[in-house]
Subunit: 516 residues, 2 copies
């Protein structure tokens, strides 16, 4: 999106008295930068710089998809290294990538919690908070401030000047993008679910009060709808599925599960509430994949003794999404959980206890945990998780059936987000969350939103590709009907009421042991 | 440059949940407005208006030569009458034309003195005044303030809202356009005479602090060089000479005389100091064509008695350009002036007097004048005027010879400016200021700068035409050389040392009467 062009202009003389700005633009047009625009207030300062650098200049140009813009003039005496930020605008965390636009390298990366969380852990609370102007402005300011602080820190750590940042791309869900731009998000969550805009105009840093180069281009990924945001568009870009002749599927499990199926010819997408149980805050001891979170669990089927790993090698404090999936899968395999998702209290183990809330399984005793409390998972927690996994499986089933694709037709099953890198597909299959495909089909892609954002600042041709992807996507509303409810009920079982769907899962005898 | 489009958008519903902005832009694209941009900070307010007007809206669109811009959204319930101003940005006077963009009619016109005059009667003094930032900012602010005051007054007089003005076009010389934009004009008058810019980006009203619609497009006519400004480009547009197969000439007599010769295939231009004597301030009793100025003079050859008309039917205070040309021509015909431009003191008349500054002719005695002083013209004044007319004739001669065109090849001789409407070509021929062509060749065009500016706001295709005219023009520097000086000396005579150039001028015997 940004190019630097070194020009040694012929100095003006009586035989060639073209005006200075025209002289520069003429040289740039000859190099193919056309149409080329200059922001009116910058004309005077830019021409001053041309004269000061004695017509030996480096022009910094930004591409806006419609035309080029002359962003700045630097001396031609030394090379200009243009920088950019790619930002994953998550509702929980923001991830920043500092890029060298000359060679495409990531110079630094960092992530921070979304500073809006105090005004709403979940997005609906934040939308409600932003219903009036002051709330909306505050949520925007929180983002802008944390952008500025984080970018300044990352630049400072590496000795770069903020004015060298000529582009930013951010990918977030529809609501987060509205918050960043200070747009009214209220109608996003109200029938008929209409955002203010799906495609946002290209912004400039000064317009958003970002303290980088004032004319830096700020690209905000477009949405397809209220429930299909720019983060997913960036994810499609990062997965490359829109260029493939094979049929692939991309799943992003966040607060919502968002799913895209398709290839270079067609893309179909849907989203549904499936994920919150995996994010922490819903399951009692659930937490984000931060230090102190149990992320892997194995249970010895004989002794019912668990073993686990904890992120950051600390004492366990809670259990993150991948840990929960492992735990359920292993409890199931060890016969501690029935196919209905109940704790088999017939199994005698000091870890199976009965609490006022019903039966529970102690993963770690108080003497092992960070907060000196038993870290346990109750039947209620398990019920919540099973609803999430059932929702996920149902969504996958519905969308593939809608396009007449069998799970076995899928070449790759991409899982976006850090979650995608953490979960063990074999475990997720065992609980019937994802289809029973060869595990190599599953591929965690990491932060696809950040990666897609980085790709577009490095390759302006992707601006057009993004438009094509947006036009290609058919977004399907999942209407809650009887058929869907039946599917969902079947998927609540471990792994499913129809075990032939999961031939690889060997159901232990004990899992049938108790039917309440 | 501005269009209004009435749209009844389908309100969003579950079956068509396109975002509101995208819904509007989609409808506009279907009508051919593409590419179409929205200024980022306006997205929120514009979508609010779409919703408030319940999807029955009138979109106001501006054309920027590169793309369309959505300027505003109005209710679809009543028609929107878009307005514009065309402004002649003269160094002496500013002329304003208020236009109805629907039917192209001039709704009002007004003119005011250039408020920069106190900081420099002539443009060089002003350039000098603007050499530092504060001077430059002051000169810009004076223009912006007088723009705002005059536009507000004209709008108020007719009951129009300022927010209905969606476009402004201004045509001025290179320096005036630089002043309006707050650009450094110092290099315009310093070798090698390089303006900051010849082509200015399209501005928006808010960027220049014009108190009309904030997103109103502000088009500033491009220059061809330091001495060939946007006013002349507008003049060419107004004359239509760039579309004609005939060869025509356009002359604008201001502080400089600016001349363009050509047709639809080629245009050649030059400029030279020729005019100041005709503008007032140089000839002692010279004045602008304002009330109190003698604008027509006849002298009875027998009695040497003058008769004259005064602008505004007042007592005479001075004499304007056309009056001076008449006066010299009539004095010459009455034998009061010799072919060398000297007052023939052999003629006995109470009006021919000798002053400490030499001989003079009294046009009006003290008892007839506004200031109760004899209104006289001295030989010195006449000498100044003859230099101007000689410069003009020389420029015309040089430029036509340069392109191998004979005066008789000219189909039309266009004279721009109010001056063009005032002068009597027969009189100007008599003094040898302009070639001895049939008087019907001469055509006064009035305010061509204002007319050209009005044309472009009414017809966006002219934006491209203006670019073509700029590319077609070859600007010729008049280098002062011996040949030119000889030409000039010959042209100092009445009508010329070579009277065969002016066969229609019948030189009276007495004009040879005295050769000092």
């Amino acid at each position: 999106m940004v190019e630097t062009v070194h020009l040694r202009l012929t100095a003006p003389h009586l035989g060639d008295n073209t005006a200075d700005l025209d002289r520069l633009l003429r040289a740039l047009r000859h190099r193919g930068y056309h149409p080329l625009q200059v922001h009116p207030p910058t004309v005077g300062p830019l021409v001053q710089r041309i004269r000061r650098f004695d017509y030996d200049v480096t022009a910094v140009l930004g591409y806006t998809h419609c035309h080029w813009e002359l962003l700045d003039i630097e001396t031609g005496a030394e090379p200009v290294v243009p920088l950019a930020f790619a930002i994953d605008l998550g509702s929980s965390r923001l991830a920043f990538y500092l890029l060298d636009l000359d060679n495409g390298r990531i110079l630094a990366q960092d992530s921070v919690a979304n500073p809006q969380i105090p005004h709403g852990e979940d997005i609906l609370t934040r939308i409600n908070f932003a219903r009036n102007d002051s709330g909306r402005q505050l949520l925007q300011k929180l983002l802008v401030d944390v952008f500025n602080e984080t970018m300044a820190r990352m630049l400072g750590d590496h000795g770069f000047a903020a004015a060298r940042v000529y582009a930013v791309a951010t990918a977030g869900n529809t609501t987060m993008s509205h918050f960043l731009l200070g747009l009214d998000a209220a109608s996003i969550c109200r029938e008929p679910y209409i955002p203010v805009a799906n495609h946002f105009p290209l912004h400039h840093a000064e317009g958003l009060e970002l303290t980088i180069h004032p004319r830096a281009l700020v690209f905000i990924f477009p949405n397809v709808g209220s429930y299909f945001g720019g983060d997913l568009i960036a994810g499609i870009l990062a997965s490359g599925m829109h260029r493939s002749s094979d049929i692939n599927i991309l799943v992003d499990v966040g607060t919502n599960a968002e799913v895209v199926v398709g290839n270079r010819d067609w893309l179909i997408a849907c989203a549904g509430a499936a994920g919150p149980a995996l994010e922490g805050g819903v399951v009692e001891r659930g937490m984000m994949a931060n230090p102190g979170a149990i992320d892997r669990v194995r249970i010895d089927p004989e002794s019912q003794q668990p073993s686990f790993t904890v992120l950051g090698d600390e004492k366990p404090l809670g259990i993150c999404g991948s840990g929960l999936i492992d735990l359920i899968a292993e409890m199931f395999m060890a016969g501690i959980l029935t196919i209905q998702g109940k704790i088999n209290t017939k199994v005698s183990s000091p870890r199976i206890v009965t609490t006022p809330d019903g039966p529970a399984y102690i993963v770690a005793f108080a003497d092992e945990t960070a907060d000196a409390r038993d870290l346990m998972v109750s039947e209620i927690d398990i019920g919540i998780l099973l609803k999430s996994k059932a929702a996920m499986y149902t969504i996958l089933n519905v969308i593939t059936r809608k396009v007449g694709v069998d799970f076995s037709d899928l070449k790759h099953f991409f899982v976006a987000g850090s979650f995608g890198n953490h979960i063990d597909p074999a475990m997720a299959i065992r609980i019937g969350m994802i289809p029973d495909l060869p595990v190599e089909t599953y591929q965690g892609l990491g932060n696809t939103a950040g990666r897609g954002a980085a790709m577009v600042v490095l390759d302006r041709s992707l601006l057009g590709e993004i438009e094509r992807v947006c036009r290609q996507i058919t977004y399907v509303e999942l209407n809650v009907n009887m058929e869907l409810m039946n599917e969902f009920r079947g998927a609540l079982f471990l792994p499913h009421t129809d075990p032939t769907l999961f031939p690889s899962v060997r159901i232990p005898e004990r899992a049938y042991g108790r039917d309440d």
